[in-house]
């Protein structure tokens, strides 16, 4: 597992950002590199990814979201991303995510688990005929991290775009 190389600090160090930041930057890097399978394996078996369709949305259950994928939905989405005839990905976009302003919002040494808030900007470019399209997304990440064995795993990741309730063209990959 990719994250094992990150050698997380002892649990008592949830208030030390270093290894947590390294993990979150690694997670963003996997998305930039479209290493989706590795990325999805960072999640716990009951983990999920959620991008609400408006800021302040409190539940993904009774209101639509841009993304709300458990591991099953992730697997379906990723199988499609690997399909040779996924027309909206011919050619696939490239993207760069910048993550900063990390803050540990809560930590629970018993679990052990912590919730980390960060800010992100994502630049995306997709070539096309006649012109390519480039877009910028930005917002707030929240990662709920747990420790499984010697690795961090993601219990959930929430990506709230600054314009979560905006109107978008096709969104291809996770923020």
């Amino acid at each position: 597992m990719a994250s094992s190389a990150l050698n997380p600090a002892p649990l008592s160090a949830f208030d030390h950002l270093g290894p947590i930041e390294a993990f979150i930057l690694h997670e963003a890097h996997l998305l930039d590199e479209r290493r989706f399978t590795e990325w999805s394996e960072l999640f716990t078996e009951d983990g999920y990814y959620w991008a609400p369709a408006r800021a302040g949305q409190t539940s993904p259950l009774d209101e639509v979201s841009l993304f709300y994928d458990n591991r099953t939905a992730m697997a379906t989405r990723l199988r499609r991303l690997g399909h040779p005839s996924i027309h909206s990905q011919i050619p696939p976009p490239t993207s760069v995510r910048l993550v900063s302003n990390l803050v540990i919002e809560t930590h629970d040494h018993e679990m052990p688990a912590c919730t980390v808030r960060s800010k992100f900007m994502m630049f995306e470019y997709r070539a096309g005929v006649p012109d390519g399209e480039q877009r910028i997304f930005g917002g707030t990440y929240r990662h709920r991290l747990v420790v499984v064995g010697s690795d961090y795993r993601i219990a959930w990741k929430q990506a709230v775009l600054a314009n979560a309730d905006g109107r978008f063209g096709a969104l291809f990959t996770y923020f």
């Binding site: 009774d62 209101e63 063209g169």
Partner: protein, 432 residues
């Protein structure tokens, strides 16, 4: 090019349309005037404004309007424009305005039925300037009509009365009868997406059962089945045809077309697959409380339609349960909203799973729409070629036959598009 110079009838033939109907800005302007300026355009469902003072801001074509409920519970469609200096009065997608709308510019207030309530420092107007509450209120869109809460409005003072074909009313009825309380509500937020392409690409695509195995090929697993799209289904629909088949499985569900450009497609292949599971059983039990058992079996086993299009701008889907609204912005840019529909009286968990699956099928990030909007964009690019001039809509002509008040043909036929353009031409030459 002026409107008079456009010979709209010459752009539509029985089996093809001219590329200009998707490309020409002058034709788009004429559509705004003669289709969105005259037709019964879908505005919203009354369940979106349940309380007095509730409003939703929306558009009829390019004109911003308020869909609202007044202090006596009456529903109105008002122009979102202050009669004084023209500012849009409401700037939120939806909300409750209380007893009055108030223009932020000079503070004019209006009752929730549009009538002018008060003008600040009125002494600036001479006594002979009466400020009549109706003349200087928020203007009403001339004509408003409803069927089962689905509200349509026409910007034209006169024209054909609101008259949905009986088969289209049956589509709405069949959605409502799936609700144990025999009532539905628009609830659960809205999916919003946009595309570089003409609005007609979306409204045609909703009834295009020829495209799924190709456009959506990437959603099928090796066995040709799509992912499960509804809770309780043992497997997804088989969307890809085996090569040996001489006829597409999508032909089995017929296409239906009726006057006014309206139409629907029969259910997706495999819709008959047995559903099960705890939540489905709860739903079935809820239906049994309001229906005899035989009726419940009918409701669950017979899906009347997959998508139904209420021309020019709305489509209902029975399986995923939503209302989709298309808005023309420019000749090559369009916006779409998809609102979940909740079956009242059905288990909460069923609504939750419906919302979950709707994210996968109709969000801007969904597994389905992303490839559809890619095709709408490709059409916009491809049709920049001046030749060939014509876009083919000939598929299924041979299988057309009379059905009820309209026509039917094999599911992959292009009857729906031919029928939409028949209505389009009537609007565009001023006959409807």
């Amino acid at each position: 090019m002026s409107a008079d110079a456009i010979d709209a009838a010459a752009l539509v033939k029985s089996d093809r349309v001219h590329r200009r109907v998707y490309q020409d800005p002058a034709i788009f302007e004429l559509e705004i005037e003669r289709i969105f300026g005259r037709a019964w355009v879908y505005v919203g469902h009354v369940s979106q404004i349940p309380r007095d003072g509730d409003f939703v801001t929306t558009f009829i074509g390019r004109e911003p309007v308020l869909f609202c409920r007044d202090s006596d519970g009456e529903v109105h469609v008002l122009r979102n424009r202050c009669p004084h200096r023209g500012a849009a009065v409401c700037n939120l997608p939806a909300g409750n305005t209380g007893r009055w709308f108030r223009c932020p510019y000079h503070g004019w207030t209006f009752q929730t039925d549009g009538r002018l309530h008060a003008v600040p420092v009125r002494n600036g107007y001479s006594p002979d300037f009466p400020l009549d509450p109706v003349e200087y209120g928020l203007a009403h869109v001339p004509r408003v009509a409803q069927y089962e809460g689905f509200t349509f409005a026409s910007l034209a003072h006169d024209g054909a009365p609101f008259d949905l074909p009986p088969e289209m009313r049956a589509c709405i009825d069949s959605m409502i009868e799936r609700a144990p309380d025999k009532a539905i509500e628009v609830s659960g937020g809205v999916h919003k997406y946009q595309f570089r392409g003409n609005w007609k690409a979306q409204i045609e695509n909703a009834l295009d059962h020829y495209h799924p195995p190709f456009t959506h090929e990437s959603t099928a697993a090796d066995d040709g089945r799509q992912f499960v799209r509804r809770a309780g289904e043992p497997a997804g629909s088989p969307i890809v045809d085996r090569k040996a088949r001489s006829r597409s499985r999508w032909d089995d569900a017929e296409a239906f077309a009726f006057s006014g450009g309206h139409g629907y497609e029969g259910p997706m292949p495999g819709a008959e697959a047995a559903r099960g599971g705890e939540v489905f059983e709860l739903y079935k039990a809820a239906l049994l409380r309001s229906n005899p058992p035989a009726r419940v079996e009918e409701i669950l086993e017979n899906e009347l339609f997959h998508n139904a299009v209420f021309y020019p701008n709305m489509n209902l889907q029975l399986r995923a349960l939503y209302v989709r609204v298309v808005r023309p912005v420019t000749v090559d840019f369009s916006e779409v909203n998809v609102y979940p529909i909740r079956l009242k009286g059905a288990p909460e968990e069923m609504f939750h799973s419906q919302i979950r699956f709707l994210n996968l099928t109709h969000a801007a990030a969904s597994l389905i729409q992303t490839d559809d909007v890619e095709m709408f964009r490709r059409i916009e690019v491809g049709l920049r070629n001046e030749a060939p001039e014509w876009v083919l809509l000939a598929r299924g002509l041979d299988s057309e036959h009379v059905h009820g008040s309209g026509l039917s043909c094999d599911g992959t036929g292009e009857l729906a598009m031919r029928n939409q353009f028949k209505a389009w031409a009537r609007y565009m030459v001023g006959e409807a």
